[in-house]
């Protein structure tokens, strides 16, 4: 070992660039490298999936609205699993088993609960109902996250009066949506964002970084760490509820007259009914929240049906208020039982 001499250049200290600019450049390079490595690791960890669904765009006809991007599809990592999400050519979420041509059509109208937030295409309420109805009837999923009664009425206007329609209100937020105020956000680069954002290609490239998506998801979770108790379920919102829920019900008067009993209503119950904790919701829910009838139009007493299930909390995603695959399947079963048995044809075409 002693005859191994150190190489000459090893004994000479390497000249390092000095000065604030050089230090800043080194720092920037280090940060970029760290971001690139983190992005790579994150992509590997989620199998390349997105962390939020990139399937939205702003409506051309109405700047206040956003819609699903026809033909878009994505794998999305949500709530600990990877789901597949695709949008049909008509801008509705795809129901994989729906026949391309069916003599009868059933339309499900709603928000993210009907859309199937956190669910794969074959796990949505529409898909589970389709599985029960077979291939003589096509179920169309008109759910769009963030929509409320105003959006449901717009969807109804586009559906032929002869078709069967079930509107599924979300107890979680449809009451607050009935304020009818303009939305602040919309779609940008395929994502739903809470700010009005006129995004260019560079911004979109940035937004599609999984690290940025993760940041948006984390920020959203932080903002909603205390979920708002739906109107009417707390002592503080009885007055607003007494005005807004009748506004929702009244809004369907024309559609009820036009469609008769081809139009039905039910609700996706608010998860907080069954899992109350004053730490989770603000204002604190009423003690009797679980047994309250739905303040929204509901022909099926859906909250009561959920309450009868011993595993009712398993009907919702863990850590979120949306329906789980089991919840969507249960609700589809209730719809099937109530409206499509024993004679599907008679029920679909009154």
């Amino acid at each position: 070992m002693s005859d191994v001499l150190p190489t000459p250049h090893r004994s000479v200290p390497r000249r390092r660039a000095r000065g604030p600019l050089a230090r800043a450049a080194r720092g920037l390079a280090g940060v970029l490298l760290a971001v690139a490595v983190a992005e790579l690791l994150l992509r590997v960890a989620v199998g390349g999936a997105h962390l939020a669904p990139p399937v939205f765009r702003n409506a051309q006809a109405d700047a206040r609205r956003y819609v699903l991007e026809p033909g878009s599809q994505a794998a999305v990592r949500q709530f600990g699993r990877t789901i597949s999400l695709s949008v049909a050519a008509d801008g509705t979420r795809r129901t994989p088993a729906a026949p391309a041509r069916a003599s009868r059509i059933v339309h499900l109208v709603g928000d993210s609960q009907v859309f199937g937030w956190g669910l794969s295409d074959d796990e949505t309420i529409a898909s589970r109902l389709q599985a029960r109805l077979g291939d003589t009837v096509a179920v169309v999923n008109h759910g769009v996250p963030g929509y409320g009664a105003e959006g449901y009425l717009a969807a109804l206007a586009s559906i032929p009066a002869s078709d069967r329609v079930i509107v599924l209100h979300a107890e979680e937020n449809d009451g607050a949506d009935a304020y009818g105020l303009a939305r602040n956000g919309g779609a940008a680069c395929g994502f739903l964002v809470s700010l009005s954002l006129d995004a260019g290609p560079l911004t979109c490239a940035g937004m599609r970084l999984r690290l940025v998506e993760l940041g948006f998801v984390a920020w959203s979770a932080f903002q909603h760490r205390h979920a708002m108790t739906p109107l009417g379920f707390s002592a503080h919102s009885q007055v607003a509820a007494a005005v807004l829920y009748p506004r929702i019900a009244d809004g369907y008067a024309q559609e009820r007259a036009r469609r008769g009993d081809r139009l039905s209503f039910s609700v996706v119950p608010w998860k907080g009914r069954y899992a109350q904790s004053s730490d989770d919701y603000l204002p604190p829910p009423l003690p009797q929240a679980e047994t309250l009838p739905s303040p929204l139009p509901d022909d099926l007493a859906m909250p009561h049906r959920f309450a009868l299930r011993a595993d009712r909390l398993a009907l919702f995603l863990d850590g979120d208020t949306h329906l789980s695959p089991a919840g969507a399947d249960f609700l589809a079963g209730v719809l099937h039982e109530a409206y499509f048995r024993p004679d599907v044809a008679a029920a679909v075409t009154p």
């Binding site: 607050a176 304020y179 002592a235 007494a242």
Partner: protein, 370 residues
């Protein structure tokens, strides 16, 4: 230049970070103390506004055992003190523990007596007349920003502690110029304040934080959901049928509040009008609080319609409450008979000492007292 002595052990990087952080923290504390001292000097030991604290459901309350001189926007400083339940007391030398109460006044800043010594509030004036020569114990469950719906939780908490002796009078104020908008728009979103215990401690104890909050509002304007000063957008957000529903729902809320309060021999509901219902010209005083003349004029042009809608809602509310067995005091006629400049503050909707006297008179009108 001298080379560093290699035998002297240099502090580790972690140690240097800790020292630096401690230094920054010390600078921050000294700066805050300096600003706090400057604020106290500036205000001469009188707080520039009331503290703002909320309960678990974000309903506004007054802090417990509060005692300070408050310099409101106008007038002489006013001493404000509260008991163990946050109720405003008539005299600050009273015990703060629970006392037998004869008159309990419940409401928002109007019932609090914004800018007034307690003896000038209608609650004190009513208690004085009820008691005659003997002093009557009176307290106010009142906080700025509260409404008949949020007050129910405070009432229930108080009832759970109150003495089993019925009050002679529970006096509930419905400030329809504020409460309707708050109960409708105020429920649109839930806002959880960051570091609530710290911010409430600061708002109760620090003068600088009050100045800071005021400066923030002046510099950055109102938050998105703040209601336009002096106006009532709820009247235009609802159609006629919905306004009728709003009146009924408000009566329901009053009934829930009355049921939550400690029992009383009599309950009077005092329906307080908006200032522009009494005199349309009162709305002009809000002009400086609007961002632009166009914005102000937009609301100014709707004042006649708004007054008409509020008159109708107030009438429906009074009729509904009477049908439910409540004694209702409507002070509109008495207020209209006086010079608006004497009964309303010149910069806000608050009612002056002269106006409070008229409110007390209208309560006695309703009680049928001589």
């Amino acid at each position: 230049m001298t080379a560093a002595d290699p035998t002297i052990r240099q502090p580790s990087r972690t140690r240097r970070w800790i020292v630096a952080l401690a230094g920054y923290a010390a600078i921050a504390v000294v700066t805050f103390l300096f600003l706090e001292g400057a604020s106290r000097l500036l205000h001469g030991g009188r707080r520039p506004m009331l503290p703002y604290v909320t309960d678990a459901a974000e309903g506004p309350r007054m802090p417990r055992r509060f005692d300070a001189d408050i310099q409101f926007a106008r007038g002489e400083p006013v001493r404000v003190c509260t008991d163990d339940y946050g109720l405003r007391m008539a005299r600050c030398d009273e015990p703060t523990a629970l006392q037998p109460t004869v008159v309990l006044s419940v409401g928002d800043s109007q019932a609090f007596g914004w800018g007034l010594a307690f003896e000038h509030t209608y609650a004190a004036l009513v208690a004085q007349r009820l008691g005659g020569d003997a002093p009557v114990a009176v307290r106010s469950m009142a906080a700025a920003g509260s409404d008949v719906e949020t007050l129910a939780a405070w009432a229930a908490d108080y009832r759970a502690q109150s003495m089993p002796v019925p009050h002679a009078l529970n006096l509930i104020a419905v400030n329809i110029g504020n409460d309707l908008d708050e109960m409708y728009f105020g429920r649109m979103s839930a806002r959880v304040p960051n570091a609530k215990p710290l911010s409430e401690w600061l708002t109760t104890h620090s003068y600088f934080m009050l100045d800071f909050a005021f400066a923030k509002r002046v510099l950055f304007g109102q938050s998105e959901w703040q209601l336009p000063p002096g106006a009532n957008p709820v009247l235009f957000a609802l159609n006629a049928g919905e306004r009728d529903r709003l009146a009924r729902a408000c009566a329901d809320a009053v009934e829930r509040l009355a049921a939550a309060l400690p029992p009383a021999t009599r309950t009077v509901v005092l329906i307080l009008p908006a200032d522009y219902q009494i005199a349309a010209g009162e709305f002009d005083k809000y002009r400086p609080f609007y961002d632009s003349p166009a914005q102000f004029d937009g609301w100014r042009n709707r004042i006649a319609a708004a007054a008409s809608a509020l008159d109708r809602i107030g009438g429906q509310l009074a009729e509904d409450l009477r049908a439910r067995g409540y004694t209702v005091a409507v002070p509109d006629a008495r207020l209209r008979s006086a010079d608006p400049a004497r009964v309303f503050d010149r910069q806000s909707h608050h009612i002056t000492a002269a106006g409070q006297q008229l409110l007390a008179d209208s309560v006695f009108d309703a009680l049928g007292a001589p």
